[in-house]
């Protein structure tokens, strides 16, 4: 493995990887374009490269794409990639307070740490963790998703009722389309373009990018989105790093685990990590107002899914998300089909994948700290009348290129209008997005599980992983209430003592 690393660093592969990371960062930083798109577009460019150089380029684009999303999330409140949505919650308030440099620095370091942590787990535990993931049946998936849904409570803001309306709207939108189990059409209203359902990526771009464009139109009298400021204090202090250690560890583990589960991915991970960081914080009310720990959680979590998603791909030949599916396509072009015997049959290529994740994370760190923090904020600080139309143009091109579908562009636009309405009435959008991402998977697994158990919910309470998630869910639901009661009791006690 060390020989392979040396070879990677001394051959032309490193140059291709730098180009891949740079392209990924640009795609990540532009709202609407994504890591998936960067990888997919680069595949034809790797035809003429060696297998090592090709895979290094694609993984570079993957790492860069996931990491680049933080820049626009912080600078203009529009996540560059869906996996950076939670970064906007605290990153943008920090930029508004004149701490854009700090927010960017925290995001970059956290992205780096998340990737490296996932690399360690990828190298050490890939085969073992894949076996664990394979034991996940429908009921375990339902349990994991139910646990994820508890984030709705924390991310509902001041009104849980509004959060529930938003979450159930998301679940209802998942009803639209072709039922994946029986093939029946449901809630399509006879419209052909709705047969495929509401695709969550265009919906997310609509909810967070197009809706934000509308919000910015309302403040068009302010020339810029964030006030003019110098990008300083980019590096995290020793104290900040020390304070963030539990958050780094927690968010990395959550991100890796979510990355392993097929079909869930980085978008969900950044919400769950943010939610857990807020729950664990001694100062949860500061989240959403510019607490750098929110940026740490989101960016560590989404980058940790990189190694996580590669684990089932390398060990079992199962893609964890859309990007790894594209990566598998790239590997197949080189005659190396990932599968259970991949690590044994292609040891050199496996090592290249492992090492590429590590090297790409360092390349990303260097490029972002030396170039990215200077160039991207300057570009994103264009006057609103220039930036907003340009962002919409790129966002719609990005939506179209997800599936080359015109109907998805229309979905993005409609969801943008819905997102704007939710903003106007102060309804949280995050619960809707969480349920929209996972609603379909939950329904499929719940119904499939019930079919297998002939209608019995008993396996949900008897299978070890499933019951573990149910306990987590119960704890996540009850702990905040217990904490609230305790705090009220404490406040009452201190008041009586004063009297």
């Amino acid at each position: 493995m060390i020989d392979n690393l040396f070879q990677l660093l001394t051959s032309s592969s490193i140059l291709w990887m730098v180009a891949g990371v740079a392209l990924g960062l640009v795609f990540g930083a532009v709202p609407g374009l994504s890591a998936t798109l960067a990888v997919v577009l680069l595949i034809p460019f790797t035809y003429n490269l060696s297998a090592d150089a090709g895979i290094a380029t694609l993984i570079g684009a993957y790492v860069g794409g996931i990491s680049g999303g933080l820049v626009s999330a912080i600078m203009i409140n529009m996540p560059g990639t869906p996996s950076s949505v939670a970064t906007t919650f605290d990153g943008f308030p920090m930029a508004q307070q004149g701490k854009a440099g700090k927010a960017l620095g925290v995001g970059i370091i956290s992205s780096f740490i998340g990737t490296v942590m996932s690399w360690i787990v990828l190298v050490l535990f890939a085969p073992a963790l894949s076996k664990v993931a394979l034991q996940f049946g429908p009921f375990e998936m339902v349990g994991a998703i139910l646990f994820g849904f508890t984030a709705v409570i924390t991310l509902s803001g001041s009104s849980l009722h509004k959060g529930l309306v938003s979450a159930l709207l998301g679940l209802s939108l998942c009803l639209i389309g072709n039922d994946s189990l029986s093939g029946a059409l449901r809630s399509t209203f006879g419209v052909t373009i709705l047969m495929g359902g509401i695709p969550y990526l265009p919906a997310l771009i609509g909810m967070f990018v197009i809706a934000e464009i509308f919000n910015q139109f309302e403040t068009i009298h302010e020339k810029y989105i964030v006030p003019k400021q110098k990008i300083t204090e980019v590096y995290m202090t020793r104290k900040e790093l020390k304070e963030s250690v539990p958050n780094f560890l927690r968010s990395s583990l959550i991100g890796i685990f979510i990355g392993i589960l097929p079909g869930i991915g980085g978008t969900f991970a950044n919400f769950v990590c943010y939610d857990q960081a807020k729950r664990a914080s001694k100062n949860p009310e500061s989240f959403g107002k510019g607490n750098y720990q929110g940026v740490v959680a989101s960016e560590t979590g989404n980058n940790a899914t990189i190694g996580g998603a590669l684990i089932p791909m390398v060990a079992m030949g199962i893609p964890g998300d859309m990007v790894t599916a594209a990566l598998m396509g790239g590997l197949m072009l080189k005659g190396a089909a990932p599968g259970p015997l991949f690590m044994r049959e292609f040891p050199a290529l496996s090592n290249t994948i492992f090492n590429s994740v590590l090297v790409a994370s360092f390349v990303m760190l260097i490029l972002m700290l030396l170039v990215g923090v200077r160039v991207f904020p300057t570009v994103l600080r264009l006057p609103k009348h220039v930036l907003l139309p340009a962002v919409l143009v790129m966002a719609l091109a990005g939506i179209y290129n997800i599936n080359y579908s015109i109907s998805e562009m229309i979905v993005g636009l409609i969801m943008g209008l819905l997102g704007y309405a939710l903003d106007k009435f102060k309804y949280p959008k995050t619960p809707l997005v969480i349920t929209l991402i996972l609603g379909g998977t939950m329904e499929l697994n719940l119904r499939r599980g019930l079919m297998l158990s002939q209608g019995s919910l008993a396996p949900m309470f008897t299978r070890p992983f499933s019951i573990m998630f149910l306990v987590f869910t119960a704890l996540a639901l009850t702990i905040p209430f217990i904490q609230k009661k305790r705090q009220a009791k404490k406040a009452q006690l201190s008041q009586t003592n004063k009297q």
Binding site: S172, L185, V393, M409, L446
Partner: protein
């Protein structure tokens, strides 16, 4: 209009949406025998949605809530710009499909930039037109280099 009242109208809209989901779920054809069918699941979720929206609607329209309500006034700043931008976005999206991505991009960016600009001098018109042309050409170059697919339309 108060924000509470505006929210009530929004909730009425959501109630209609929930009703439509209940109806469309109820007419879903069941093709295979299973414990929870697509129809049953749809009915449960859409009914829960309807119930949640309804309770919210009732709760914000109680006398006690109205008396305590401090949500403020519902307003849209720069409504003219928001309305024109919405129409422009829809026209742009449809234009991409029928006219062509690059032609529409030039027209849309130029139109929007001029709408959002404070100064509309002759110099501003010329500078914006040149800027939009450079932006469109740059996009064409980048998208062609990376084989970014765009809808087939009448023009480019």
């Amino acid at each position: 209009m108060s924000l509470r009242k505006a929210e009530s109208y929004f909730l009425i809209f959501l109630l209609v949406v929930a009703g439509v989901f209940i109806y469309t779920s109820s007419i879903t054809k069941v093709t295979i025998k299973e414990p929870v069918t697509a129809r049953a699941y749809g009915l449960v979720i859409s009914s829960l949605f309807l119930l949640t929206v309804l309770t919210r609607f009732i709760s914000i329209n109680t006398k006690a809530y109205k008396e305590k309500d401090k949500s403020g006034i519902f307003k849209i700043d720069h409504p003219r710009i928001v309305l024109i931008s919405t129409i422009a976005m829809i026209v742009y999206t449809l234009g991409i499909i029928w006219v062509g991505y690059y032609v529409m991009t030039f027209l849309y960016t130029f139109g929007m930039m001029m709408l959002l600009r404070e100064d509309r001098t002759t110099k501003a018109w010329i500078v914006t037109a040149i800027g939009c042309l450079i932006f469109t050409v740059a996009l064409y170059w980048v998208f062609t280099m990376f084989n970014v697919y765009l809808p087939n339309a009448w023009l480019i």
